[in-house]
């Protein structure tokens, strides 16, 4: 359900192109978009559609070539590297396709890595509880299954109480059953914390979980659909 609130993110004519050899690649062409707090957004697109680029720019990892991106009152497109890092530090939680946990640290330590640099974090064990892995706190990633690792990664991402949770193909490396558990965890967090969740994926089935589905094609928004009945993860099939 859409809630009439001030947008958390507002992109206007967001474009990104970069040189590749002799030619230029236009990853994004004039994206206009608004993302609100508390939304559950899925960005769909094939590979090369520009969804990863969009996620990177939203997460402050990259700057647009032209256009603006506002986060609340801050113009991210005009920020320098340092300011973007601060933005990321405070407001963004990231979940990667390949988990990217630090292999030498326990689950709890991996979460602590983030809670210790945050201004208003939650208790690390709380974060683990939120994903149902509080009793695996002292285990190392090597001792966890793929799904459990991803859930720890999610706990790590939300440990700092971010304003937005960005997930890049979170189930891409998992099978259906495990993937459902992970998506469930994400849904739970969305429910209990009310964080804006943005998932990018090429898997259309996931879109049924979202409030809004944004389809990207060839660097532009092809369609935006509202979903009035988001489904729980367990019902998804792909």
């Amino acid at each position: 359900m859409s809630v009439p609130r001030r947008p958390l993110f507002e992109a206007k004519q967001l474009s990104k192109s970069y040189p590749m050899g002799d030619s230029v690649v236009h990853a994004l062409r004039g994206i206009d978009l608004q993302l609100h707090e508390g939304e559950f957004v899925v960005i769909l697109g094939a590979s090369g559609s520009g969804k990863s680029t969009l996620l990177n720019i939203l997460g402050g990892l990259d700057t647009p070539t032209s256009g603006t991106l506002m986060f609340r009152d801050q113009d991210l497109s005009a920020c320098d590297e340092h300011a973007l890092t601060e933005f990321r530090r405070e407001h963004v939680g990231f979940v990667f396709q390949f988990y990217n946990l630090i292999s030498g640290l326990t689950s709890l330590d991996n979460v602590r890595l983030v809670t210790e640099i945050a201004n208003a974090p939650m208790e690390p064990i709380e974060a683990l509880r939120l994903v149902g892995l509080e009793n695996r706190a002292t285990h190392y990633p090597a001792q966890l299954s793929g799904g459990e690792q991803q859930r720890v990664a999610i706990a790590r991402a939300i440990g700092k109480n971010p304003s937005v949770l960005l997930c890049d193909e979170p189930t891409g490396a998992l099978d259906v059953k495990t993937g459902a558990i992970v998506l469930d965890a994400i849904a739970r967090i969305h429910r209990e914390l009310g964080t804006l969740v943005v998932i990018i994926t090429h898997n259309a089935a996931i879109a049924n979980m979202a409030n809004r589905v944004i389809r990207l094609s060839d660097g532009q928004i092809a369609r935006i659909d509202e979903n009035l009945n988001p489904q729980p993860a367990s019902t998804l099939q792909w």
């Binding site: 210790e116 640099i117 201004n119 208003a120």
Partner: protein, 415 residues
């Protein structure tokens, strides 16, 4: 922004603490490592006492009055059984026995010659008597002056230099009298010889010609030992009075200018551990060339020294013995301060010492103090200003030593 407590935040108290510790550590390191290390030094003391300036050289003893006994006639000399060092008594010890052989002594020409000689000796006796009279008078005057000066000096009414001069004159007068007496004895002796030669009898039953000792003293040298025929004038013996012994020291002319009559002299290394003392009688006015021990031709001046000790205390000291003489030409007051000479350092203008600044630290410091130096000899130097008694000074300051340097003290000879 709400306060952060994370340790990964760059400016957290913990990190600032670390940084401060690191900087403190580096500073301590730099201070420890590059601060000067203390320089090892040896110390001497500033003491109170007199410093003597003396000229050291070796010299030799000489018996002042010596006389060679010669034969007045031709004859057969009996073997001389006397040896150098044998004591002789005036008129009683028989030195020489000659059997006259030459009848030519009886002819007229020889007779005239002998008479002439006799006359000469008589004149010599008269002259000697004159000298004795003059010497006696001088001595009386000098003695009187000396007694008076002794009293005045004890009352500090006259200067030391003047007293020295009067004492010196008294001593000289004594010596002059003794010399005059010696001449008299010799003259007497020659007179008797001449008489005996004149009344010579060459008959076979005649008694041989004898020569007796003209003075009390010792045989110095035996010049002709064996029996045989000798001609007149042949030197036979040398005799002398060892009581009249002086010391001759030939010093460099540059050194002689500082020597004055009556300077105290210490005689060492003459064969006994005892040190003899004496006084400079005379510094001869003319210098002569002498090739030194180092092979350099140098101008030397002869200094004559009278011995203080009577003959009884120095009987083993013979004639021509090598001795070591130390002529004291100057000395600083007994209440003055001195330091070991090794403590002194100098530039073109003045003298410096390094004085220890007492402190409770492990490594005290030294300060470079300018001092004024008076009399300096090989061991000690008189300090006329700049230091206090009891100060410690650095001996033979190493090249590295500077004003304010840190030192560590070592003692090479603990005793």
């Amino acid at each position: 922004m709400p306060p952060v407590h994370s340790s990964t935040n760059s400016w957290s108290p913990r990190n600032i603490g670390f940084a401060a510790l690191l900087i403190a550590g580096l500073c301590a390191l730099a201070w420890l490592g590059f601060s000067e290390s203390p320089i090892p030094v040896e110390l001497g003391r500033v003491d109170v006492g007199s410093v003597e300036l003396s000229i050291e050289d070796d010299g030799e003893t000489r018996i002042r009055e010596r006389y060679t006994i010669t034969s007045p006639i031709t004859g057969k000399l009996a073997r001389i059984e006397l040896h150098p060092g044998d004591p002789i008594e005036k008129d009683s010890t028989r030195l020489v026995l000659i059997e006259p052989t030459d009848p030519s002594l009886l002819d007229a020409r020889s007779q005239l010659e002998a008479e002439g000689r006799l006359k000469a000796t008589q004149t010599a006796i008269e002259r000697a008597d004159e000298l004795i009279k003059v010497a006696n008078e001088s001595l009386q005057l000098a003695e009187h002056n000396f007694e008076r000066s002794k009293q005045l000096f004890s009352l500090n009414a006259i200067a030391r230099a003047e007293f020295d001069q009067v004492e010196h004159s008294f001593r000289s007068a004594n010596a002059e009298l003794r010399a005059a007496n010696f001449l008299r004895s010799i003259a007497q002796h020659e007179n008797s010889i001449a008489q005996a030669a004149l009344s010579l009898d060459t008959t076979p039953e005649s008694t041989p010609f004898e020569i007796h000792a003209p003075i009390d003293g010792t045989i110095l040298r035996v010049l002709h030992e064996d029996a045989g025929v000798i001609a007149p004038g042949s030197p036979l013996l040398e005799v002398g009075d060892p009581r009249e012994m002086e010391v001759q020291v030939d010093v460099l002319s540059t050194a002689a200018v500082s020597i004055r009559p009556n300077n105290k002299v210490l005689i060492e290394r003459w064969g006994s551990n005892q040190t003899l003392s004496g006084h400079v009688r005379r510094v001869e006015p003319s210098a002569f060339l002498k090739i030194s021990a180092l092979g350099v031709e140098e101008k030397r001046v002869r200094v004559l020294v009278d011995l203080d000790q009577p003959w009884e205390e120095r009987q083993s000291l013979g004639d021509g013995y090598r001795i070591e003489a130390r002529i004291v030409v100057d000395s600083s007051p007994a209440d003055g301060m001195f330091v070991p000479t090794g403590a002194l350092e100098s530039n073109a203008q003045s003298w410096f010492v390094y004085r220890l600044i007492p402190s409770s630290f492990r490594y005290p410091r030294v300060e470079r103090v300018e001092v004024s130096v008076g009399i300096k000899n090989r061991d000690f130097a008189q300090i006329t200003g700049g230091l206090n008694q009891g100060d410690s000074v650095v001996l033979y300051p190493p090249e590295k030593l500077k004003d304010g340097a840190k030192v560590t003290i070592y003692v090479a000879n603990p005793d």
